[in-house]
Symmetry: D3
Subunit: 136 residues, 6 copies
Amino acid sequence: MPSCTITRRVHFNAAHRLHNPAESDAWNRATFGPCNNPNYHGHNYELEVTVEGPISEQTGMILDMKELKGIIQKEILDRVDHKSLNADVPFLDGRIPTAEVLAVAFWEILEGKIPAGELNEVRVHETGRNAAIVRR
Amino acid sequence: MPSCTITRRVHFNAAHRLHNPAESDAWNRATFGPCNNPNYHGHNYELEVTVEGPISEQTGMILDMKELKGIIQKEILDRVDHKSLNADVPFLDGRIPTAEVLAVAFWEILEGKIPAGELNEVRVHETGRNAAIVRR
Amino acid sequence: MPSCTITRRVHFNAAHRLHNPAESDAWNRATFGPCNNPNYHGHNYELEVTVEGPISEQTGMILDMKELKGIIQKEILDRVDHKSLNADVPFLDGRIPTAEVLAVAFWEILEGKIPAGELNEVRVHETGRNAAIVRR
Amino acid sequence: MPSCTITRRVHFNAAHRLHNPAESDAWNRATFGPCNNPNYHGHNYELEVTVEGPISEQTGMILDMKELKGIIQKEILDRVDHKSLNADVPFLDGRIPTAEVLAVAFWEILEGKIPAGELNEVRVHETGRNAAIVRR
Amino acid sequence: MPSCTITRRVHFNAAHRLHNPAESDAWNRATFGPCNNPNYHGHNYELEVTVEGPISEQTGMILDMKELKGIIQKEILDRVDHKSLNADVPFLDGRIPTAEVLAVAFWEILEGKIPAGELNEVRVHETGRNAAIVRR
Amino acid sequence: MPSCTITRRVHFNAAHRLHNPAESDAWNRATFGPCNNPNYHGHNYELEVTVEGPISEQTGMILDMKELKGIIQKEILDRVDHKSLNADVPFLDGRIPTAEVLAVAFWEILEGKIPAGELNEVRVHETGRNAAIVRR
């Protein structure tokens, strides 16, 4: 039988700024362009979390979508929604909050928190045009 | 050369209820919450079917999208669209109609019906936020 | 100065059946087609509620979106989400739950409940292709 | 003949914070909730600008969409995209950057800049769920 | 009671070229830019047709969505879908097929064909960013 | 650590016709149906390009999205946007411009042009319902 996964999609709104403090201001402006704006800009992020595993005979589910939603809410959304990703999120301290870095950071947090099946993919849409994906 | 697939997306509207008759009403209410409502609720389902295979020199196609659409129409949509997934669909009898169970059931039906290439993925979107995927 | 409105969009999942008990079964089948299926079908409804009014100098708002969301939640969503629109919703008793009838019923309920400004439009999307709109 | 309008949709990414400096911090937190976060949050805004007017026999157009796009780019997007709406946008100084206030401010700027026809509507989508509209 | 409308959304795929044969090639290239390409370009058009009228007590409908869909199919889609709007559509002969001109032409055709209620709005989306609207 | 990819989504508008000149007109009409229309039809194509690679410590990026966007613009969009895919695009000469053929052709062009990481997937959406995907 082929493998089965479920995906839950959530959203959050956050400010961010791309800036590497180890480099000069000129380097940061040249590298990150308008994303380096000191007073931030922001996004409506969409986050998709995918879990792979066997389907329970008793429930017809890999993992209850409501339970998965609750885990994402507690582990991720409560810590990033309506925040500055640079100033307000301890688990991002010292990291440049690109979509790639967010996807990796969310993977690291969620990987140990899935109660049935295992984390398969984390997808972060920064806009409708830009996304980063971490896959097992 | 890397592999190539095509995907056709269709939609159907159906009622469903999550309920396991082998368990008590209390267990069902606790497990499925509002999805256990006796008089059903429903969804605008989106179904994506992906086929992998070589591209024909003569047509430039793996499989004609119109032919794939016709197969999905006959094998799936004619049996689930504007139906109750619990009461009106023989191939779901005795199964709890979660997104996962639908994706597996659709895979089982479609796998033997693809005339060129082979079935690669079945994706069932229950809402814009919840999906289940079966992949080879 | 031109007028200003705000719109809040929410969603709910419900089952329904189009059936007029004053008419024969044959008439109902001929008139409503697959929407007359006795065991229901269902939709992911999207509901948009628009309020017109002056913008407060103190808040920059016509009406707080969170407050509007709370009113829609209490007055509409708590009564229709994960329900059968035919069997579980007292304010729809004796009415055929088309998109038009839902839009009118929601307008009647919401009109007296807007604490600032006045109700301007209620839009009910039954699918991505079908909608009904009530406008002042 | 009925009237005709054209609509151009564009997007921008910005940070903002809802805060009224004439009120206490406690009032601001109670009124704006997480939208009052001192380090900002942000959005992918969608802006729709509608122009009404007669259709030119020579071009088949009310106003060239590319020209309309250019006006919006110069008058609005160059001043708000990848910015903080509180700190970086002179025409918003002293105003609370809600969706309503943005829609009014954009209307005021664009109204005098439309070279053919007249401005008919400005719509600002803060998220897929929240919008403000100014109409003539 | 406020007025009620229904909207049906359909789509079609067509090629077009913006070109005014009464003007020089140089004028056409300068005015229409890449849209003047002699070998055409094309779009996935979305067409929304809105009808206003009283709601029938017997059906709960202004007009059956399936009937409205059938009228749009016969009067519009069968004549424009998978066509060149310049070369294959008699009712567009001698007209420049901009979104504005399409919206007006569709209005003219549909206005006399609505069997219950009256035509209220025709909206033509050329892309997700560009639309034209004719309203009563 | 799991692998990471980034995806950039762009769009273009083009005309095309499905026709194999090595076959008879009757065969072409029977095989391609309305897609064989001699005067073309067209689409709003969406193109998604995915790149896999290590994340730079210095930038937090696999590859700058702006740089990826520029490569797609120069290598693909400047050659296909507002064109006929049959008549105006040298790299498609002698090929039938289906979604599958476009995805393969874009892969061939982009594969050697990615300055960091490697091309992982090319996805071509012909409509919201039809797509072709080439994956490594």
